[in-house]
Amino acid sequence: MASQADAHAATFSAAELEFLAEDELIEIVPNMRMDPLNLICGDFGPFRPQIATQVPVWLAVALKRRGKCTIRPPDWMSVEKLTQVLEAERDAEKFQPLPFHYVEISRLLFDHARDDIPDIYMVRSLIEDIKDVRFHKIGTGLEIISRERTYALRLKNLSAMEANIVRPFVTRALQTFYKLNSPDMIQESDSVSNRQPQTANRGPRRQLKDR
């Protein structure tokens, strides 16, 4: 409740983001029989041994905790895919596409389905590295799409957790620009859709480092 005073700096708590991530679908392989579940959030099953089926992450984790299934890690969580993403993430200024809740989902699976993830140590360290690289380019990888009077920022491919982390300072920095409407910033602008992040982001970047 302490967040109330600063409601817009921390709109969602980490627990709330995890809650949202738990609704994403994931594949499981049950080891038991169970009739279909007609839940408020949707219909799932029927569950048959060795027959893969899609369920929300919270349901997958609940079944896994009770020893009733194995979880199939999503494609993007393979060493091969993650290595590609990490390389691309290091090379390019832009953010690579990853699931919106990749941070929360990977953490839930590390916590509850360790034995279902091949090369778990490698996977875990790749995801850590990707998170790091992405975090460090938050200052450069975001695209300012409007800098006339109202600043607008496109956060292409940013994940839920990352958006939540950048929210306080991105929103504060933009608000300050908006207020100042500084002539400096306007002169710098060469087009509405500025695709040169180094110039475009001079302001926010400085803000980032000052933190």
Binding site: M1, A2, S3, Q4, A5, D6, S13, A15, E16, E18, F19, W58, V61, A62, R65, R66
Partner: protein, 211 residues
Amino acid sequence: MYGKKGSELVKELASSEPGQLSAFNNDLFAQVIDECTGHLHHLGSLIRKIEELKKIEEIKKLNNQELEESEKQLLKAHNSGALIHHLSLLRNKRCLMAYVYNRAETIRSLGWAVERVLPEEIEEKLSGSEKEYFKNHAASLQSYMSELDLDLAVDMVPPKDPYIKVRVLEDIGNVLLSDQSANLARHAILFLRRTDAEQYISQAIFTLMLW
């Protein structure tokens, strides 16, 4: 300096942790109120003086005369003086209101956390009016919730799997739990609601299994 105490009051707010309350600053609060009363006295006497001068001015006008230069200066000075006292009063009022209003917000957020009765160490930090406000507000909230037939003071954070895994250490036989009847046979492994399991854990009939 006028308005200094009022700003100290607001600084006190600003320097406290969000969601935390310091003791209601009765002394400083009363001093700011006194300052307001002082401003009113000055304001009153200045307005009387201004009115007197205005009267003189009108009388002189009838005789095609103007105010003496010194009288003009005096009128100007009184006007500025009155304005200063008026603005100082407004400023103090805003500080007082901000102090009370923002504390009220924290008091309300405490209400969510503690449900109707404040712990003593918090209660003693409140002013008399604040204590009354807390009670009234709790009652307003209560009346909303009973009208809706829904308790909003629970479930403050997203739910997690409410079931925990336990191993039974003693033969107890069949017991009725909140959502199931369970056979508590030695060495059995069960998934139970945390709330159901707690009493047995404390009696060392169950042991909690982490994985």
